[in-house]
Structure formats: structure tokens, C-alpha cells
């Protein structure tokens, strides 16, 4: 399942867009501890393509996708 989510992100001085927090169901907010990889990729599980951020959230690796101007997560995030 593809789930669009609210994300807090910042632009750094070099113009890179970096997500900092994700919101799950409005009330739950999780910090992104670390971004380990950024690349263009498709998500076959969720169904979509864009820029894929590999993030560490609560000690686990999660994929966060930027599809034009919306963020989505793939099925592993949705469980």
C-alpha cells in the first residue's frame, strides 16, 4: 500500500532537501535519525517513482519517497 504522509523537511545551504520528521496519522511524529542514501528509484511495493531517501527511524531502515511535491512510504512503513 502507498501512503502519503506529512513530512517536515529543510533545505540546507547547498540547496539539498532533507526530511527531518515524519508524521504518522497527524498525532505521531517520528524524527529521522539519519539519511544513509538518496537516489532516484521506483517503489514496486507502493507503486510509484521519485527520489528515494533511505532513512533510519527508531533504529530501523525505512524508505521515504519524494514524488514531485508529495512524500510517500512503501508498504513496510504501513504495517
Amino acid at each position: 500500500m502507498k501512503k502519503y504522509i506529512k513530512v517536515n523537511a529543510t533545505f540546507d545551504c547547498d540547496g539539498n532537501l532533507l526530511p527531518e520528521y515524519i508524521y504518522w496519522d497527524e498525532d505521531r511524529k517520528y524524527p529521522i535519525d539519519k539519511i544513509t542514501d538518496i537516489r532516484y528509484a521506483a517503489s514496486l511495493k507502493a507503486g510509484g517513482a521519485g527520489i528515494r531517501y533511505t532513512c533510519m527511524i527508531l533504529g530501523k531502515e525505512r524508505f521515504l519517497f519524494l514524488e514531485e511535491n508529495r512524500w510517500f512510504v512503501d508498504t513496510r512503513e504501513n504495517k
Binding site: Y40, A42, L44, A46, G47, G48, A49, E68
Partner: protein, 424 residues
């Protein structure tokens, strides 16, 4: 004249490295990517059946196995494959994916020429790494990884054979057509597999015993020219690998040679008044597009298809160049009246303009025409263009369109953002 003697051999001393990349079942692949639950089902993207645009635009590999063909009606496809899932097209999404593919191509070369949304030629001759096969494999795997769809790529020394290569093995494949193997691969294929040999040309060639591309290559150019005119020379050259047409630079704008719009109406057009309504809408779109490009045209063409799917085209030349909606509409409608007497109701009509000059060239004022009226009409058209641009297509319309809103409520200018392209 022996055509071989006219070929500049120097041009072929250093072979080019050309790739042709073709996204497999593009619309359907993008839809399947976005709908994971459909991936194991036969899927086709089709037009809107209620508005009588119900033909198959693209199909996935599973639907292909049922022999579902692009261009056939939905009901025909469903007869072959009852469980076929048909989806409406999302052109904005396809344009985004086309752009994403182009971004990948641009990492390898700046000579990229798009051929529709889903195909492109790449010229790697002057790239640092010009190993065509290796680059093709890399592009193929990057598109799969980054876009989630598959491509087939042809690698060759000219554009025609590169395109042939991308059609040769599908999906998700790379085919190299070299000077060593083209006689084995290309020449043994049916004549219809060559670009610009369609059904009609294929039938003509069959009649004189030409069945394969090799037959074309070994035929006498004089015979081909007698049979097909200048196209005979063209396909003779294609079949022999003499194509030296360049791959356009990615920033190059392809020269516009004609502007046209056509539509299949929600119901058949039975009277001249029906045709008039639809023609007004089409001409308005064509003329606005022409003015946007800064052109004036001298030739107006119409295409007509009746409810038994017989179709024909007619064109006429105007006395002077014009970009006025009123003049083009009147010419198109009077051409229609001269060409067709409403023997049968019509299913679709189209209007096109060709033979352009730029609208800023000086022109001779005529004694016989009311030049003041022309200037007034030009001002009026420009004002209407601005109004429509600012407030939408329906903000101001000719009263005749209110007679039948069912026929007139379409917007060819903005609804059809993807325009067909030709190779020549």
C-alpha cells in the same frame, strides 16, 4: 541514375553509435507500476468509450499474450480477453515519466531526440564512453530501477536500424545491429518491419514480389521509385543502412510543419450545422496554437471520417497568408461543403493548417481586400486569446456553439497536450 553513386562514402568512414530506446507498453506499464494489484492481470489503457473514443492505446505483456492490439476497439479486445482491465489514460503522469527517462538519457549524451513520449534516439558517437552495448545495458537497468518500467533498446550505426533493433526483441532487451549482422537480422525480416513501410506500402511491395527488407535492399531503385515515388528512394536507402540523418540536440526545437486538431464527436454529425459547430471549435484551437507559435498559414486541410469509417482528406490554398480564426474557419467550412454532401453521417472531422511563414514578415497589402477589416479581426483574435488564456477556454465563445453544447463542449487546445510526431 544509380543511387549508390550518390552516397557520400566519406560520411560512413566512422560509424556512428546510435541507440533507440523504446519504453515497453509505456502507458500500461506506468499504470501497472502505480496499481500493484493489477500487475498479474491483463491491463490496457483505453480512451473513453462513452465519448466514442474507446480504443486500446497501450497494453501490458499479459494482454499482449491474448493478442490484444493497440488501436482496436475495447469490445474487440474484450472478445479476445474477457478479463481485460481497461483504465483511462493519465497523460500528465506519462509526461512525467517521459521526462524522468530523458533525465537518465541526458547523463550519457546531449544528443537526444524524442519520438513521441515513449521513444528516443541517443547519439553516443562523441561521448567519452561510446560503447553502445554497455551503455544500453546500463540505461536499461537504470530505467528499471529508477522508473520501475522496462525498455527495449536497439544499438546500431544509424537511426533506422537502431529503431529496428528496439522493435526486434521485446520487452527488456538490447539488440545490436552491426555492419556484420544487419544482413542476417534486418534483411530477413518482413518488409513491414521497416520504418515507413505501412500496410498500404507493404501491399504494393508484395504485389511485385518484395516481401522482406532484403528484397527492398536488393531491388532496383528505379522500380521502387516508379512504384512509390520519392518514398521508393527513401526506403531503399533505409533498407541498405544509408540513413545519415542526425540525432537532434536535446535543446533543439523541432521545426513545426503543420498544426492540426481532430475529434471524434460524442454523437454522429448529421447536418451541416452540426459540422459547423465542431469545426468552429477545432479551428479556434488550431488558430490559437498557430498564433502562439507566431505563424501564418496558406494551406487549410480537412479530414473526414463517416460512420462506416470511410475517410478522406482535402486541402485548399488560400489567396494570402493568414492567422485569423474567421478566415481559416470560413475556408475550412467552404472546403468541407465543396467536398462532402452529407451522404452519410460523420463520426470524426479534423482541421489542419500548413505552409507557414512567420507572422512578422512584411506583406503586400492588397487593393482587393479590406485591409482595415483584417487588422481589426487580428486585434479581436489577439484580445480573445488573452481572455481565454487568463480566464479559461470557455470564457468567450461564438454564439453558434451554444446551439449544441453536446458537440461543442470540448477543448482540443488543452485536452490534447500530446501531439503526434513524424520522423521526416
Amino acid at each position: 541514375m544509380d543511387i549508390l553513386s550518390t552516397v557520400d562514402r566519406n560520411k560512413y568512414k566512422k560509424d556512428r553509435v546510435i541507440l533507440h530506446s523504446d519504453c515497453n507498453g509505456f502507458y500500461a506499464s506506468v499504470e501497472c507500476l502505480h496499481n500493484p494489484q493489477l500487475r498479474d492481470k491483463p491491463v490496457a489503457v483505453s480512451g473513453d468509450a462513452e465519448n466514442r473514443h474507446g480504443i486500446i492505446l497501450a497494453k501490458n505483456e499479459i494482454a499482449k499474450k491474448y493478442n490484444v492490439k493497440t488501436g482496436e476497439a475495447i469490445w474487440q479486445a474484450k472478445q479476445k480477453c474477457p478479463e481485460l482491465v481497461t483504465l483511462p489514460p493519465h497523460f500528465e503522469l506519462y509526461k512525467r515519466f517521459s521526462k524522468m527517462a530523458r533525465r537518465i538519457y541526458s547523463d550519457y549524451t546531449d544528443r537526444i531526440e524524442n519520438f513521441g513520449l515513449d521513444e528516443a534516439w541517443l547519439d553516443l558517437t562523441n561521448s567519452i564512453d561510446n560503447d553502445g552495448y554497455k551503455t544500453a545495458l546500463e540505461i536499461k537497468s537504470r530505467i528499471k530501477e529508477e522508473l520501475g518500467i522496462t525498455v527495449s533498446i536497439g544499438v546500431s550505426f544509424n537511426k533506422i536500424f537502431a529503431k529496428f533493433g528496439s522493435d526486434y526483441k521485446k520487452p527488456d532487451a538490447v539488440t545490436c545491429i552491426t555492419r556484420e549482422n544487419y544482413k542476417d537480422i534486418v534483411w530477413n525480416s518482413p518488409a513491414g518491419d521497416l520504418l515507413y513501410v505501412g500496410r498500404a506500402t507493404g501491399n504494393k511491395l508484395n504485389r511485385i514480389g518484395i516481401y522482406t527488407i532484403g528484397d527492398i535492399a536488393n531491388a532496383s531503385p528505379d522500380i521502387l521509385r516508379k512504384l512509390l515515388g520519392k518514398w521508393g528512394d527513401l526506403i531503399y536507402g533505409f533498407a541498405n543502412g544509408f540513413d545519415s540523418s542526425p540525432v537532434a540536440h536535446m535543446d533543439e526545437n523541432i521545426e513545426v510543419k503543420s498544426i492540426g486538431n481532430s475529434t471524434t464527436t460524442p454523437r454522429d454529425m448529421k447536418t451541416f450545422d452540426d459540422v459547423k459547430v465542431v469545426m468552429y471549435v477545432l479551428c479556434d484551437s488550431v488558430c490559437r496554437r498557430m498564433r502562439e507559435q507566431g505563424f501564418m498559414a496558406k494551406t487549410v486541410g480537412i479530414s473526414i471520417r463517416d460512420n462506416e469509417l470511410n475517410s478522406f482528406t482535402r486541402q485548399c490554398t488560400l489567396e494570402s497568408y493568414t492567422c485569423l480564426t474567421k478566415d481559416i474557419t470560413q475556408s475550412a467550412f467552404s472546403l468541407f461543403k465543396r467536398s462532402y454532401k452529407m451522404q452519410r453521417p460523420l463520426r470524426s472531422i479534423g482541421v489542419s493548417v500548413t505552409d507557414f511563414v512567420h507572422d512578422n514578415i512584411p506583406h503586400q497589402i492588397s487593393f482587393l481586400q479590406d485591409e482595415e477589416r483584417l487588422m481589426q479581426n487580428e486585434k479581436l483574435d489577439k484580445t480573445l486569446d488573452v481572455l481565454k488564456k487568463r480566464f479559461g477556454n470557455y470564457i468567450v465563445r461564438p454564439a453558434v456553439l451554444l446551439n449544441d453544447r453536446g458537440l461543442s463542449s470540448f477543448n482540443p487546445k488543452d485536452d490534447h497536450v500530446i501531439h503526434p510526431v513524424g520522423y521526416l
